[in-house]
Symmetry: C2
Amino acid sequence: MFKLLAKSGRARRGEFHTPHGVIQTPVFMNVATLAAIKGAVSTVDLKEVGCQVALCNTYHLHLRPGDKIIKELGGLHRFMNWDRPILTDSGGFQVFSLSALRKIKEEGVYFSSHIDGRKIFMGPEESMQIQSNLASTIAMAFDECVENPSTYEYTKESCERTVRWLIRCKKEMDRLNKLPDTINKEQMLFGINQGGIYEDLRIENMKQIAELDLPGYAIGGLAVGESHEEMYRIIDAVEPYMPADKPRYLMGVGTPSNILEAVSRGIDFFDCVIASRNARHASVFTEHGTMHLLNAKYEKDDRPIDPDCGCPACTNYSRAYIRHLFKAKEMLAMRLCVLHNLYMYNHLMENIRKAIEEDRFEEYKKEKLKDFNMRL
Amino acid sequence: MFKLLAKSGRARRGEFHTPHGVIQTPVFMNVATLAAIKGAVSTVDLKEVGCQVALCNTYHLHLRPGDKIIKELGGLHRFMNWDRPILTDSGGFQVFSLSALRKIKEEGVYFSSHIDGRKIFMGPEESMQIQSNLASTIAMAFDECVENPSTYEYTKESCERTVRWLIRCKKEMDRLNKLPDTINKEQMLFGINQGGIYEDLRIENMKQIAELDLPGYAIGGLAVGESHEEMYRIIDAVEPYMPADKPRYLMGVGTPSNILEAVSRGIDFFDCVIASRNARHASVFTEHGTMHLLNAKYEKDDRPIDPDCGCPACTNYSRAYIRHLFKAKEMLAMRLCVLHNLYMYNHLMENIRKAIEEDRFEEYKKEKLKDFNMRL
């Protein structure tokens, strides 16, 4: 299903074939937590900004509106009117980061909803069932995302449990894909590598999960408290043990610079809320550096955010106008900046893919790292 | 400048020629208070929902970002990227409804900004200067909008002052339109009829302001506390005294039913925040009645808001999805409903125009009033 088209150093240019179309990699997935991009951006807009894959959240959709309702309505694709691939995360990360009073047991996690305090249990089987109801293209394994730093002992224990959970995930997914009323019978399960900042645990874990021969593998538990250097060190350590014929997904990463660094270390899939979240706070990424639109110097600046950008914000509105919208607390401000940042990320990935195809990725990376570190 | 194309009863089908294009009447203007439609709707979207005229607010734009900044940036059309007509209200209504500590004198009004309490003076000349800086297509006269009910004596006194103000507005607008650095040298001034709920004051006032031979006339001071029946009675009383060769604008009105009633009484221009405000609260207008999308019965309803509607919301998303977005507090919910309601209003006006052209407006009105009173 994954076809490696070209390499430039360790950077990979590939195609991932799915029942909802082909994903060109490296790819940045656009986060639509609750089946919608925050900032009043619709799935119609997502096509306009060049999004290939939407990422939705199992935990949030389980609580609201409920995965069973989405199943009754024909699954997530139909619900949110999106015919391209959707990746759902497993809910694990949110269970551990958002919910109160969580208790981790071998069978799964007992926790209280962050909305109404309702007691909920989620284990590997439940996560797969919810994701099967949502009918996403790619389901993620239910794992424990260990905080950084955690002790070696705790990380090891957690990792081992996560492997046992992964085996249960795979079994349950296989079962669900065979049920007659399952919407997407070709739902794919990606495994997740854990092990905190401990290289030996990361490698051992990766070897174990690689044996399960899943259609893709993610590196989880990074960008959760450690430095960028530690993150790159861990990727360097674990990457040689990731199957070369499967896509590799670095979860929750990152800035444009982080993405360049990770691509150069052989990563294919990315996602991060930073693109849309920063935009909602008037902070935009451009090919020439970052920009904070509330800065007084933009008050009378009638140039677009980035004169070279082809996004719906840059082709129609000025910095001065968008700054005014933020000051006046008009929702349109957020929408325009989210559209811009998503377009910028999606087109950055396009440029990365081209640079790999033309085997000039390291030069491209060096040049762009300089640009991305500029504050305009 | 105003060309009457057809009549059906007292309902008028016309064309109003402006330097920013021809307005087909009857028309509903879409309210963009702060140079943006609330609900993350852009001027690009406005074209998609069939908007002919955007209405912006002098008082609000004077405070934020400031009309002088907008002038430096080339005027409102350029600032908000809108090449069709813009009408600016005079600021009078907001001075009287939003600001604290106002003092009305013959020269104008002293008041405190509702944002920072800053003391501001606005009189007829200031209002014209601000609107000239904004460079709208149509400027509205600076008037006092008297609350309903007010005493006969106060209303009479206020009306007379408003006429004196209107004469000053006209003189100042004539002066400004001749200045070399004025952006729109063909800015038009509409007069505003006042007189509360007193027919004789309304008629006397209308006769006086008609003499000034302005390019258009509005009825102000309605929909501010009186009943619908009183409003229709006042329109009936004053309409025969409005110049037949000028457009007539009923300010701040209204529901689809109000619009039908007013069109049948010879009104050509409308504006109202109800279309976008109700939408932001999940209340939508359709050709078949009104609908509140938070209603539990829409939880699993995968039909669009209105299956016959061609708006960006109805062609892409279901009631169940939009209801979910409201419940999850996703901004996209508001955006989709605002797009729907504006499209609905703009296309209602199109149907009204067609019914007048085909001289079947009274039947059309009777039929639609029944529909619009339905709660779905």
